[in-house]
């Protein structure tokens, strides 16, 4: 099966240009490049002891530096996770720096302060009631738009700093486009009493996958909103008779759904997790943390990463030689909103 060398999209035999990106196919000596088929396994080599050291250093140094060190500490943890994660025998790598995170955070803070200043002035200058109403509305509106912008910013930054086999990932989604997807979906969810929510979440996932590139090759997504909606409807219908257990089932199901519909060239990601295993993992991790006053946190993180990654595979045909380096620059401003907007559930490597 032939793939475009520029965007990685598959095209039919006899095509003269790639439908997705328009590259002329006559230039591509497709037959001469090898395609590898098979099942590629993920593995996680990290240990709780090393994780513990990284967390301990971060927490201690953050305390004496008014949390300025936390940017470096978080970067060290990300680098450790990337370098201990293996796919098909090769490790990932992370190239971000603490300084980038700090600068991104400062920019985000500046924006937030400007916003709060505007709100403060509105509250003081307008009438008592009108001022409070206007201020509240302004805050909600701003966060509705800031949230997707921060998510795109965080994805751009994180992918651009991650590499595998010497090639960088990149995220090329346009912020304005994602704001449209996100805000429209949020409002529709609200207006339909959250009936639309699974379709909205599926759209977000599609936007994420279809704008993510490894080198020159793009990821794909073929999960349909109606399929996810079906699972969601079943989960809610069974919520009362199962005393809420079906909600947990949906949460695991959505996780599987998102990953199993993610494609790359002729291959597909698969994650073979099941509800009982995930529930046991989360419950036991929770108990471990409670009874050790969170001293076991690094070990529980390793358990989680190991559990999920070792049940994840990339199945199918991939041609590594066709994938070329296409690195993009990206600032870390979106990440600066992390603490408020929780766009960085990515830290565990599981959120994505």
């Amino acid at each position: 099966m032939p793939f475009c060398t520029v965007c990685g999209d598959e095209y039919g035999a006899g095509a003269s240009f790639c439908v997705r990106c328009g590259t002329a196919i006559a230039n591509v000596p497709a037959a001469s490049l090898p395609v590898e088929s098979g099942t590629r396994r993920f593995r996680f080599h990290g240990t709780g002891g090393r994780f513990f050291t990284l967390y301990a250093v971060m927490i201690l140094l953050s305390m004496v530096t008014a949390s300025i060190y936390s940017f470096w500490g978080r970067t060290n943890i990300r680098r450790y996770i990337a370098r201990e994660t293996e796919l098909d025998g090769e490790r990932f790598d992370y190239h971000g720096t603490g300084l980038e995170l700090l600068l991104g955070w400062l920019k985000a803070m500046g924006l937030l302060l400007a916003l709060l200043l505007v709100v403060g002035i509105a509250t003081v200058t307008l009438d008592e009631m009108a001022g409070q109403v206007a201020g509240t509305l302004l805050i909600y509106a701003a966060f509705l738009f800031l949230m997707p912008l921060a998510m795109v910013g965080a994805w751009r930054y994180r992918f651009s700093r991650t590499s595998y086999r010497g090639l960088r990932f990149s995220f090329r989604g346009k912020p304005a486009e994602f704001v449209r997807v996100y805000v429209a979906g949020a409002l529709l969810s609200f207006l339909t009493l959250f009936l639309y929510t699974p379709i909205w979440q599926n759209n977000i996932r599609r936007f994420l996958c279809e704008n993510t590139y490894y080198g020159s090759a793009r990821f794909g997504y073929d999960g349909s909103g109606s399929a996810l909606f079906g699972r969601w409807a079943v989960c809610w219908l069974l919520a009362v008779p199962t005393l809420g257990v079906s909600l947990v089932w949906f949460w695991v199901e959505r996780f599987r759904f998102f990953w199993n519909h993610t494609t790359f060239q002729g291959a597909r990601l698969r994650v073979d997790i099941h509800t009982p295993g995930m529930v046991w993992l989360y419950v036991s991790n929770f108990l471990l943390n409670i009874f050790t006053l969170f001293l076991a946190y690094p070990w529980t993180q390793v358990r989680l990463l190991r559990y999920v990654l070792e049940k994840m595979t990339l199945d199918g045909a991939v041609s590594y030689e066709r994938i070329r380096q296409e690195a993009l620059a990206a600032g870390a401003m979106g990440e600066g909103f992390g603490p408020w907007l929780e766009s960085s559930g990515i830290d565990s490597g599981i959120g994505l």
């Binding site: 250093v57 140094l61 004496v64 530096t65 008014a66 949390s67 300025i68 060190y69 470096w72 370098r83 090769e90 490790r91 790598d93 603490g98 803070m109 937030l112 302060l113 709060l116 709100v119 403060g120 509250t123 003081v124 200058t125 805050i139 595998y164 086999r165 010497g166 090639l167 960088r168 490894y214 080198g215 590594y320 030689e321 066709r322 994938i323 070329r324 380096q325 690195a327 603490p339 408020w340």
Partner: protein
């Protein structure tokens, strides 16, 4: 001696199996097909963990080489000890970053501490009076609500007559408004925008209208010099800084909390004393009025520990009395007497009518 390694050229994702050896000019990577890649030693950096060595070329998008064969790491360390990032180097970076961070935080903190009065002053002078009035209204609503005010309008009218005497010598764009609160605690305060609040307890301690005039002259200066507005901005600045550090955005909804806790700076108090004394003298009132009340309160402070809030918010009472007496003695006129023939303090029991 060669070691097996995997090589990525940084241009495509293809893996190349290579045989690695230490050449004269650089690390030599011999490809399976016979091709040779040479990395000059100065262009290489890398890390080692668990007998796995990861090397890359310096630069934005590096070429990569991984050697997992035993024996390679010791040989590399023997020939080029500085090439691999070692654990101690990492600790050094950590300490350096910690030092820089700590220093930067300390310097920033001290700079803000020192600069905050000036920043507050500069920003406060930009705020229009109408905004100050909005702020002041909020303070008065919180600290002197309608339900706590003196029920007898005649008492407030008497106080306003004293205020009128001073208005002419404190010519500004402020419209002064005075409230008397039915509260035994000896206190008085000014809020931004021209609001002055007198507690019944303070009036009871005065022995002449001139002593009330002294308090009013002082508080009016807080308004005119915008001390309250500046104090609020300082409090806000510290809140913003704290919010930035601990990542808490909830402070915004806590704005009203700032309104209640206005702390004037010592230099604000001194300035209000001096300028207040000047306006007393310009109005031809007895300048000792400002001093006498302070003396009474100072004497009683020992008997009423904690009860006299007016003094506790105005530190160094003895020094202030001395400084103000000196200023008062410079007056070279015969003072007018206010409300002659009226008993002072006026009966205040009518304040509480209706609340019993």
């Amino acid at each position: 001696m060669t070691w097996p390694g995997t090589y990525f050229d940084g241009r495509t994702a293809a893996r190349h199996d290579v045989a690695v050896s230490f050449g004269a000019d650089g690390l030599e990577l011999r490809h399976a097909g016979g091709a040779l890649t040479v990395w000059p030693y100065w262009s290489i950096r890398g890390t080692a963990s668990q007998s796995r060595v990861d090397l890359e070329t310096k630069g934005e998008l590096p070429e990569k080489l991984t050697v997992a064969a035993p024996g390679f790491e010791p040989e590399l360390r023997r020939q080029f000890p500085a090439l691999l990032d070692s654990g101690t180097a990492a600790t050094g970076v950590v300490l350096k970053v910690a030092g820089i961070g700590f220093g930067a935080t300390a310097i920033l903190g001290v700079a803000l501490w020192i600069a905050s009065p000036w920043i507050g002053q500069a920003v406060a002078s930009l705020i229009p009076v109408s905004w100050e009035e909005k702020l002041g209204e909020a303070v008065v609503r919180a600290l002197a609500p309608e339900s706590k005010r003196c029920k007898d309008p005649a008492i407030a009218q008497k106080m306003e007559r004293i205020l009128d005497e001073l208005k002419q010598t404190t010519g500004t764009g402020y419209r002064f408004r005075l409230y008397v609160v039915d509260d035994k605690i000896v206190n008085a305060f000014a809020a931004p925008g021209g609001f002055i609040v007198l507690n019944r307890g303070l009036i009871e301690k005065t022995r002449s209208p001139e002593e009330v005039a002294g308090v009013l002259a002082h508080e009016m200066q807080h308004v005119v010099q915008r001390h309250g507005t500046r104090a609020m901005l300082r409090g806000l600045g510290i809140r913003i800084l704290l919010a930035a550090m601990i990542g808490d955005a909830g402070w915004l909804y806590d704005l009203t909390g700032t309104l209640g806790e206005l702390h004037f700076l010592r230099q604000d108090e001194e300035s209000a004393d001096i300028e207040g004394m000047k306006s007393m003298q310009a109005a031809r009132l007895d300048p000792m009025g400002m001093v006498e009340l302070l003396k009474t309160l100072d004497k009683e402070a020992g008997d009423l520990p904690g009860a006299i809030r007016y003094l506790s918010s105005h530190p160094q009472t003895r020094d202030r009395i001395a400084a103000m007496e000196k200023l008062a003695r410079q007056a070279d006129y015969t003072p007018r007497r206010l409300m002659q023939g009226t008993a002072w303090p006026p009966p205040l029991d009518s304040c509480s009518v209706g609340t019993r």
